[in-house]
């Protein structure tokens, strides 16, 4: 019973913390756009929170370069359990167009575990919403 209540509330209230790990902004503005009136991801209870301590879902954009790697890991550790990570965009999924540049890695999953990949460069706000909703369907 308690378990079901917890699952219900988790599915209904995904609070998102966005971290830009050296992305080009394209994904970031599409993520912000998904909050705005035309898409309004708040319909599903998702809001953008300002502190990783308040977050349930960590959305990472960008290629994760040598500099942001440690910060990404540190932010990830600050998020209380249960937590989920979404890699947003081609860059976060596997390096995107920057794959092979000397300063970038092979995507987010090399640094922290990823629960959902949303490919696209950048993904439409609808694609982002689809990804978040798909993740919610899986929150256990």
């Amino acid at each position: 019973m308690l378990e079901r209540l917890a699952t219900w509330s988790r599915k209904r209230s995904p609070w998102v913390f966005h971290i830009n790990a050296s992305s080009c902004n394209g994904c970031d503005i599409e993520l912000v756009a998904s909050l705005t009136p035309l898409y309004d991801i708040e319909r599903f209870g998702a809001i953008l929170v300002p502190s990783p301590r308040h977050a349930d879902v960590l959305i990472v954009t960008g290629t994760v370069n040598a500099q942001t790697k440690d910060r990404l890991r540190r932010v990830y550790e600050q998020v209380p359990e249960p937590k989920h990570v979404i890699a947003l965009g081609a860059c976060a999924a596997a390096g995107g167009v920057f794959k092979g540049c000397y300063n970038v890695g092979q995507g987010v999953q090399d640094v922290i575990p990823v629960d959902m990949f949303i490919p696209g460069c950048p993904p439409r706000p609808e694609a982002i919403m689809y990804g978040v909703l798909k993740l919610l369907g899986e929150v256990k």
Binding site: H18, I19, N20, A21, S22, S23, C24, N25, G26, C27, D28, I29, E30, V32, A33, T36, P37, L38, L48, P50, P52, G62, T63, N65, Q67, T68, D70, R71, R74, V75, E77, Q78, G96, V97, F98, G100, C101, Y102, N103, V104, C121, P122, R124
Partner: protein, 413 residues
């Protein structure tokens, strides 16, 4: 507070001379900056006495990578320097490369480039105005402005197939023609945007709390701005008439009539109005260009090998001058590509403005330069007041790094 500051140690590049208590980190992961950038603010109470930027969080090594990739592929990579003014990057890079070839760009392509570039300017300025509202704590303005911004994105998507990275440019032309029957729709939508821009101008002019936040904030004298090489709106808001579109026309800017907007007031409020005014100008330019679109081909196919030589090009991105330099030795890949972005050029001015403001103004002022730190990984500082100048050498960076990674203050339970 002021007396017990330890004496300045020049050799530490000004990084460790203040005690930890009044150093407030701003970034790298900070909700006000959609991009990770790190500023250490030295505070006295809420007042900022010094700002120490730490850049390079978005450094991906584009210029290096460009040297090993074919010319055309680089176009798509440089387009992704940034998602806000992406087209103008590929445009400038393209122009620099085109300068090395003998081909003439079709006139219709020039017009289409102008249309996309101006649509991008509108989208960028709207985004900026919205974020300004967000950073000043005025969510409603942010929501409305971003709602209206979608109008531009829909048009861009209809023309190019993607909302952000248009992938429209090609060497000596554009990849896609304007879709059939878009003309009326574009003109009508531009009219709508001009109406909205006028409404927002009214809001930023009358709303008391917004004025409190923006008036008299972020002042800088025209001389300082000129000395620190401000570009784009950052130069125009103090009255400098600087605009590459006018000073050195490219694409079809010599055929589409327009006038640049400047302001004399020189505060953030003036900057807000300036951008809205520029948006109106841009909307009118789009309408004009769509109506006067010449017939003809849109692209000349050129061989993948670019003749040897050097060339540079610059253009006016929404946030100021973008500059590209390319060097070829006649191969399939460039020898060297160098790009300089407006934010890099505007950062010294912004730091100058920040001194003496309160911490509440940081987001607003940093937004004023529109934080897009795509390309800042090395930097020299010049403090014009004390005429002190310093650079970060590798050694200083290393020392700073060691200091930074010392046992973290924040630990898990």
């Amino acid at each position: 507070m002021t007396e017990d500051k330890p004496p300045r140690k020049e050799e530490s590049a000004g990084l460790m001379k203040y005690s930890a208590e009044n150093l407030v980190p701003f970034g790298p992961i900070h909700p006000a900056l959609k991009e990770p950038e790190y500023f250490k603010l030295v505070l006295e109470g809420e007042k900022i006495v010094e700002v120490i930027p730490r850049i390079g969080y978005v450094h991906r090594g584009l210029e290096k990578a460009a040297e090993s990739r074919p010319w055309v592929q680089n176009m798509y990579m440089f387009e992704r320097t940034c998602g806000i003014c992406s087209f103008v990057h590929s445009l400038t890079y393209g122009q620099a490369v085109e300068g090395l070839t003998i081909y003439e760009i079709p006139r219709r392509a020039k017009f289409i480039r102008t249309i996309i570039a101006e649509l991008e300017r509108i989208h960028s300025h709207l985004l900026w105005v919205g974020l300004m509202g967000h950073w000043a704590g005025f969510e409603t303005l942010f929501m409305w402005v971003w709602r209206d911004r979608e109008v531009v994105l829909d048009l861009v998507e209809a023309i190019s197939g993607n909302r952000i990275h248009k992938s429209m440019n090609a060497f000596c032309g554009v990849r896609r023609d304007m879709p059939e029957g878009m003309e009326d729709r574009i003109v009508e939508r531009m009219k709508f945007l001009v109406d909205r821009a006028n409404y927002y101008k009214g809001i930023v002019d009358t709303e008391e709390t917004m004025l409190e936040r923006t008036e008299d904030i972020g002042r800088v004298s025209a001389e300082t701005a000129e000395k620190l090489c401000a570009v784009g709106p950052m130069a125009r808001y103090v009255g400098l008439r600087r605009d590459i579109r006018l000073n050195d026309p490219y694409a079809a800017y010599d055929e589409v009539p327009f006038d640049i907007v400047t302001s004399k007031e020189g505060d953030v409020h003036a900057l807000l109005k300036l951008r809205l005014d520029e948006m109106i100008v841009a909307a009118n330019m789009v309408s004009y260009a769509v109506k006067h679109l010449p017939e003809g081909p849109i692209r000349i196919k050129i061989p993948p090998v670019i003749p040897a030589g050097e060339h540079s090009s610059h253009s006016e991105a929404p946030r100021g001058e973008i500059f590209y330099y390319v060097k070829s030795s006649g191969g399939r890949t460039p020898d060297r590509v160098k790009s300089r972005q407006p934010t890099m050029a505007n950062l010294p001015t912004a730091l100058e403005i920040l001194k003496g403001q309160t911490i509440a103004d940081v987001p607003v002022v940093l937004t004023a330069i529109d934080p897009c730190f795509g390309c800042m990984d090395r930097m020299s500082f010049l403090d014009i007041e004390s005429n002190r100048q310093w650079t970060w050498s590798g050694e200083e960076l290393r020392r700073y790094g060691i200091n930074y990674y010392f046992p973290e203050r924040m630990k898990m339970r």
